[in-house]
Symmetry: C2
Subunit: 231 residues, 2 copies
């Protein structure tokens, strides 16, 4: 990711035609080539941008542009359409480059969070004699959905998904690797729990010694309702 703060002007043509008068702005060039042009206010939407896939060419300004104070022109061209963003750079106030790596992405805690709460209440669904240690057990790479102990006192890490895909198994694998380094917990067994577990995910989980558990959301809510009515 490249961060540039510069006095600049810009023109966009594509779905519509628009331009930005000269002002100081933040330019972000992401690893995939996409470009964002932000002002120092407003919402998260940039003033202008180019979505990936796209390529950027830095070209020298023509004589007239030089006359106006343009030092360089960024031509950002979309690869699959004729969307085009041209940025006239006047004065560069900051320019830095950063390695960020891939991002695990946002996790929305909707049904998934509810499933987690229900399973925490009904921890015996993991097997007789299981006890809850805690929900959202923190690790360096993010919280594990549930940490429990089985009847024999051994640790069990549970990853919960609405739809159980390979990604979820990979995620649980990373958690297990980390948790098993902790002598207070090790050995930690893994349980992959989801409303629906895809065949590929099931195969991968079994290959790694991870237990699969299909959760019946409606049944679990029913038990919860019954339990609630008792109080």
């Amino acid at each position: 990711m490249r961060l540039v703060v510069a006095r600049c002007a810009a023109r966009y043509t594509g779905r519509l035609a628009a331009h930005l008068p000269l002002a100081t702005r933040l330019l972000v060039v992401k690893a995939d080539g996409s470009v964002l042009l932000h002002s120092d206010g407003g919402s998260y939407k940039p003033l202008n941008w180019m979505s990936p896939p796209c390529t950027m060419a830095v070209v020298a300004p023509d004589a007239e542009a030089v006359e106006r104070g343009v030092t360089a022109v960024w031509c950002v061209q979309h690869t699959k359409s004729d969307d085009r963003l041209e940025i006239d750079l006047h004065e560069v106030l900051h320019d830095s480059q950063h390695e960020l790596g891939v991002d695990p992405g946002l996790v929305k805690d909707g049904v998934e969070a509810h499933l987690q709460a229900l399973l925490a209440e009904q921890i015996q669904l993991l097997g007789d004699g299981h006890t809850l240690v805690r929900r959202e057990y923190p690790t360096a790479i993010g919280p594990v959905d549930i940490l429990a102990r089985d009847a024999g006192g051994a640790s069990v890490a549970v990853e919960i998904k609405r739809r159980g895909d390979i990604d979820g198994v990979e995620q649980l694998t990373r958690y297990l690797e980390l948790l098993n380094r902790d002598p207070h917990l090790s050995p930690v067994r893994g349980v992959f729990a989801a409303q629906e577990i895809k065949p590929q995910a099931r195969v991968l989980a079994q290959d790694r010694g991870i237990t699969c558990l299909v959760l019946d959301y409606d049944a679990m809510r029913g038990v919860d309702d019954v339990a609630s009515r008792l109080f």
Copy 2:
């Protein structure tokens, strides 16, 4: 605007609940207090954000968080709702501050651009004997829509809007101030042209010696069609 690159994790609660596992990301704190949390790919939409109006408090992490490697926690609270974004900072790789100033904002060249083209063709609408110098006459603060000369050879700068508001008069005023510094052009007279001119804008324009011109888009297109049919 503050730019921070850091290994971080985040939690959002408000319209929904969501969290971001630990990864290296770009954090942008805008002058209005809004916060963006960007990964190094994807579209212009941040992974997570807080819209203005909001306030940020930097708090010390609790013992458990320190254990996980958290060095600081940013609590960003929306002022008018209970939307809340908490960012756990682990390692700060970059931190810089920049003064950007206010942004003139995006100008969409739709009807406005068409009006400009039509008026350039029908420049006599400014008055008999007027001649076009050029459209998009460049200045340091952006292009003037139309530069023309009147029957006597004096310069005329035209600002075109679909809806003529006070902002447009202010904009034209800035252009005139700049253009009048150029001895080759000065004195430059201003014309504020729009499909509809708001009373307040008209008063301000007249006060500054700027001529108001109401443009009849349909009529101008009609003339254009007739002219086109001649060829």
